[in-house]
């Protein structure tokens, strides 16, 4: 009981910090709202789907960024997909960086793309880690 309360508190604080730090936006809340008895792990399910798909895209973009010259069209296309997926789970920071990356693509700014991509990767990893921890606690709560 007490442990449960503790967990709940922990969970709440983890969740809150994700929002406070700008990692997540209200889209995440909408996902939580969609969760119901019929789909009790809906949010986790969606987040998992997202990470599976987005990891693949990250790799693809990385490889594309190694090419020379850069194919901005392709890069933009990949990033568009990535952005769409990130938006769906409410990944706020990552979404902003995706937009930035696309703008650089449009401008043909390879440097800008590379730089932005590094930031994006970092924030993407952070969010992923935090969400995984969050769901772990959620699971513990049963």
């Amino acid at each position: 009981m007490e442990r449960n309360q503790q967990l709940r508190r922990q969970l709440a604080s983890m969740r809150q910090s994700l929002f406070d730090q700008g990692h997540l936006d209200e889209q995440f809340i909408l996902l939580e709202e969609l969760q119901d008895d019929a789909n009790p792990n809906f949010v986790e399910e969606v987040v998992t789907l997202h990470y599976r798909d987005s990891a693949r895209l990250i790799t693809t973009i990385e490889r594309a960024l190694e090419k020379s010259p850069l194919d901005f069209n392709k890069l933009d296309g990949y990033m568009h997909q990535f952005k769409g997926s990130s938006t769906s789970i409410g990944a706020k920071k990552v979404k902003a960086e995706s937009t930035q990356f696309r703008e650089y693509c449009e401008a043909g700014n390879g440097e800008g793309c590379l730089k932005t991509f590094q930031l994006l990767k970092r924030d993407y990893a952070t969010l992923r880690r935090k969400l995984e921890a969050y769901f772990q606690v959620l699971l513990c709560m049963g």
Partner: protein, 671 residues
């Protein structure tokens, strides 16, 4: 997913059960959408590949009501999918993307998307997507009406001769009246129907193929209607038919090659835009007018019809629900428009058939009639019918409405939504002007209702419907047994239902390359079993009883007949589509072939009517005249109309072929 089809019980829960196909290569989005749509109580099928989605749509033609697709997909561009769906299945398609730039959204519009959602999609946005289904059907209905009813009732009553289709004078009047209506309702398109008021020619696949080969033979530059006509060597086809068809074809080709004609939609769209068939638009306008004049069609029926039209979901742009009481469309409780098909049977259950799958349409027989009318270019008949002064005048306004929108030639296959030709709006026009008030009502009802929905069960206006069908059919004017309307009402409902089916038909239509879709539809329609028709009749009869609008009884019956024809399930839709798409009354083409339906239908209808006169017995409708023969499947609406007309004729009098309208003072129909 939903295979529902048969249950017609959707209406009460509509929009719950709406069958949505969602296509997105992003698994995250797909899952979220699936969940959201499920929360909206829709039946969701998800798909991550456009090609697979197309296969699913093709194999399960009437299995879906609406498609939601992402724009950027690896295997196929979302817009291309949009076009294909519009052409082949004529379902409403919603595009979505994280990209909200104006160009992309515009592209969605030009390709015929009925909506564009920006990702992340909110559930609130999804809650209302059913409106697109309803709207499309309504438009289809309208188209059908318009195309079907070449003559509006208020025009001078056309003598029975079938041949007398092209009465420019009539058309002129009709056009005017229709125009008014159209303007009121802002029905977009089709103006040219008025010029040609000939019986609608149904451009079946074969016919179209003949046309295309003739054009190719001559060379697209040298292809002039006269030469094409000679090459085609189709008896009964006029130069004008070919000319208007050629015009559409050209637009279509232009669109294919990247230049969009005014609409940028598929060929069909172009068609619908300006109803080449003349009848479409004119019909709708007229029909409604006449119908309105007769005042018979209860607003409800009109609404139903509209709903029916909606069911068709013809991508008719701008087909606003005609005057018809739009609210009727939503009064689905009585009629359940089934989103899918299989309604006909229901009709017999005495309830208005909800043609629209899942969309409850309160089409009463009138609507059906209207639908029919539009579908068929009954020619003067239609007009007459409506002209014949419906006593009630109330429905007139409804009728008016109906007439207009429908004539979209688009019905068939518009890119975006490919509206399958819905029953020509002619349904609206009161063909039977004869004292068959019921008939008028039916027509009115149909006209009104059908306008929007296309197949609302027009219970009352069944009579109206008949008219168009017969165009020449002379609906036995006087003796139109209105009393039996009950049956008609039933029929009307069927009509509405048909509207619903239209959608389905669309799916059947696989445009060969896009252009054909509309034609295919017709073919499909033709192939549809007639029995649908019968079923509808039955239902029709029931509805009629429900409506028992006084006169309508007899009239009502017919509509069902008509409806059945057109709508009974996808097949019917096909029919409808034919009707509407072509905008031309089936009669014209059919003349020779089964399409003679108009006449037949009329007769049939009459017989139905007759039966109805005693009471609306749906059964009678079916067994009697409703035979499928009346309405070749492809006619869909036209069939209905003819059936109705026939019935009326029978009801009215006797002879089955005694379609002379003398009894009907169609011209008197106040528009």
């Amino acid at each position: 997913m939903s295979t529902a089809s048969s249950s017609v019980t959707v209406s009460d829960q509509f929009p719950a059960g709406l069958r949505v196909l969602v296509v997105d290569d992003d698994p995250t989005c797909l899952r979220i959408l699936e969940k959201m749509l499920g929360t909206c109580l829709y039946e969701v099928t998800k798909c991550n590949r456009a090609e697979i989605a197309l296969d699913m749509l093709r194999t399960n033609k009437n299995g879906y009501d609406i498609v939601i697709s992402d724009v950027h997909m690896p295997d196929m561009d979302g817009f291309k999918l949009l076009e294909q769906v519009g052409l082949e299945m004529d379902l409403p398609v919603i595009m979505m993307s994280a990209d909200d730039s104006k160009q992309v959204v515009m592209k969605g519009v030009t390709h015929g998307a009925c909506d564009y959602l920006i990702k992340p999609v909110r559930i609130e946005a999804l809650k209302n997507i059913w409106q697109h289904v309803v709207r499309k059907r309504k438009n289809e209905w309208k188209d059908l009406e318009q195309s079907g009813s070449v003559e509006e009732g208020d025009r001078q009553p056309k003598p029975s001769e079938e041949a007398d289709y092209s009465s420019s004078a009539n058309e002129g009047n009709w056009r005017t009246s229709k125009r008014r209506k159209d303007e009121e309702e802002e029905i977009e398109e089709r103006d040219d129907t008025s010029t040609l008021k000939k019986p609608r020619v149904v451009w079946s696949v074969e016919l179209h193929q003949q046309f295309v080969s003739a054009v190719n033979q001559l060379g697209i530059d040298k292809a002039v209607p006269k030469k094409i006509l000679e090459l085609m060597n189709v008896p009964g086809l006029t130069r004008e038919n070919v000319a208007s068809h050629l015009q559409k074809y050209r637009l279509y080709l232009r669109r294919l090659s990247g230049v969009s004609p005014h609409q940028g939609n598929s060929f069909i769209s172009s068609h619908s835009q300006e109803p080449p068939y003349g009848s479409l638009s004119s019909l709708s306008g007229l029909d409604f007018q006449t119908l309105a004049a007769t005042g018979q069609i209860p607003a409800q029926s009109l609404a139903t019809l509209q709903a029916a039209g909606l069911a068709r979901s013809a991508a008719k742009p701008g087909l606003p629900m005609p005057l018809v009481d739009q609210r009727n469309i939503f009064s689905f409780d009585n009629q359940k428009l089934r989103f899918g098909e299989g309604q006909p049977q229901h009709m017999s259950s005495g309830k208005q058939m909800n043609l629209l799958h899942g969309i409850p349409t309160t089409m009463d027989s009138k609507q059906l009639v209207n639908l029919h009318h539009s579908a068929q270019s009954l020619g003067s008949l239609n007009m007459q019918a409506s002209a014949h002064g419906n006593p009630s005048g109330q429905s007139s306004p409804l009728l008016m409405q109906m007439a207009q929108p429908q004539s979209r030639g688009q019905i068939l296959t518009e890119t975006s939504g490919g509206q399958v030709p819905r029953l020509p709006t002619s349904v609206g026009h009161p063909i039977l002007s004869n004292g068959a008030a019921g008939a008028m009502l039916a027509i009115n009802g149909i006209g009104e209702n059908s306008r929007g929905t296309g197949y609302n069960s027009v219970s009352q206006t069944s009579s109206v419907l008949n008219f168009p069908l017969n165009h020449s059919a002379e609906l036995p004017g006087n003796s139109f047994p209105l009393g039996s309307t009950p049956g008609i009402s039933a029929g009307m409902s069927t009509l509405t239902t048909k509207g619903g089916f239209q959608e389905e038909i669309n799916s059947d239509i696989k445009g060969s390359g896009g252009f054909m879709p509309s034609y295919d539809i017709f073919n499909d329609l033709q192939q549809h079993k007639p029995h649908n028709w019968e079923l509808q009749n039955v239902g029709f009869a029931f509805d009629a009883s429900q409506h028992s609008n006084s006169l309508q009884a007899s009239v009502d019956v017919t509509p069902s007949v008509l409806v059945n024809q057109g709508y009974s399930s996808s097949q019917r839709n096909v029919q409808n589509s034919n009707v509407s798409a072509m905008g031309k009354p089936i009669f014209s083409v059919g003349e020779g072939s089964e399409h003679g339906i108009a006449l037949n239908v009329g007769q049939h209808l009459n017989s139905l009517l007759v039966d109805n006169s005693t009471r609306v017995k749906s059964e009678r409708v079916t067994d009697t005249s409703c035979q499928p023969t009346l309405l070749p499947q492809h006619f869909g609406q036209e069939d209905l109309m003819s059936a109705i007309l026939k019935q009326q004729q029978d009801g009215l009098g006797p002879a089955e072929n005694d379609f002379e309208f003398d009894g009907y003072s169609l011209d008197n129909i106040p528009v």
